[in-house]
């Protein structure tokens, strides 16, 4: 990853215009051709520096629900509970964290009422209480990779 990649990632984080040739302005500002720019983006995706390139949805406005959830999982059952939780397609990602609440996962559902059903199933399967903490407000972040 060189400084052009870093600038490119910063530009893409700010957002791509929705127009016929959305890459032209960014390519110009970086002194790249559109083809060069696209192959850099492809390489950043291949290298897993970028996990996604495309629309950032607002799940709540789409009618769905997105929530950060936490559980206190007994350490001797951590792997077993991880498998149970991750088996749900609604679970988008899952991190171990060093706190009494030691499992943190995001659930995304197409309809809000599905979230409660999924969380109920997770509680029943795992025997662990789920603390559900949907966002109330998002503070805007501009970006920011060191170039």
């Amino acid at each position: 990853m060189d400084s052009v990649d870093a600038s490119l990632v910063n530009c893409l984080q700010d957002g791509l215009p929705v127009c016929s040739r959305p890459f032209d302005d960014i390519a110009d500002s970086l002194g790249l051709s559109v083809d060069e720019l696209l192959s850099r983006v492809q390489r950043l995706l291949d290298d897993k520096v970028l996990t996604r390139f495309g629309p950032m949805f607002n799940a709540e406005n789409l009618g769905g629900a997105l929530s950060l959830c936490a559980m206190q999982v007994p350490l001797d059952r951590y792997d077993e509970v991880t498998d149970l939780v991750n088996a749900f397609p609604e679970v988008a990602h899952n991190y171990e964290r060093d706190h009494l609440l030691n499992m943190w996962f995001v659930i995304a559902t197409e309809r809000p009422e599905q979230a409660a059903v999924v969380l109920g199933e997770i509680e029943q399967l795992t025997g662990c209480q789920v603390y559900d903490m949907p966002k109330q407000e998002e503070f805007y972040i501009g970006l920011k990779l060191a170039v």
Binding site: Q13, C19, L50, F53, H93, E96, H99, Q136, E138
Partner: protein
Amino acid sequence: MVLSATDRELIAVIQDGLPLVAHPYAAIGEQLGLSEAAVIKRLESLQTAGLIKRMGVVVKHRALGYRANAMVVWDIPDAEVERIGALLADEVCVTLCYQRPRRLPAWPYNLFCMIHGRERDSVLRRLEQIVSCHGLEKIPHTVLFSGRSFKQRGARYVETGNVPGHLQRSHG
């Protein structure tokens, strides 16, 4: 806003990502049997309605060498959340900043921010600077570093099961 069948097909096609070509919206239109102009018009209205925030990227900080990923959580008086949330979001090392509900008594924190750094020490030093620079010494906070990460696939918003096969992306 009620999504039309076309909107749902459009979202299903783009939710895993945009095609990496010079005219991505024309390519999407070809998949859906729509003109480029029609795709752009639909996407603009989805953005205006706030369903799509922007066309952007998700950066995986671990791949950039930012191995220390700290969730810093704060218990801020409700009347102060707006002000302090905006301050934290402006910090260069803060990559996400959300207000969330407390879950008392287990969880007293109502503001969550992510700080990424190359190692834990540098993240903690940066946090100390943020606390002293903004006078946050009296605001209770704690740091949760991440250990293993088990699943990172990004959220899906429309089930692709009900989209005709020829409309699904082959390289999602």
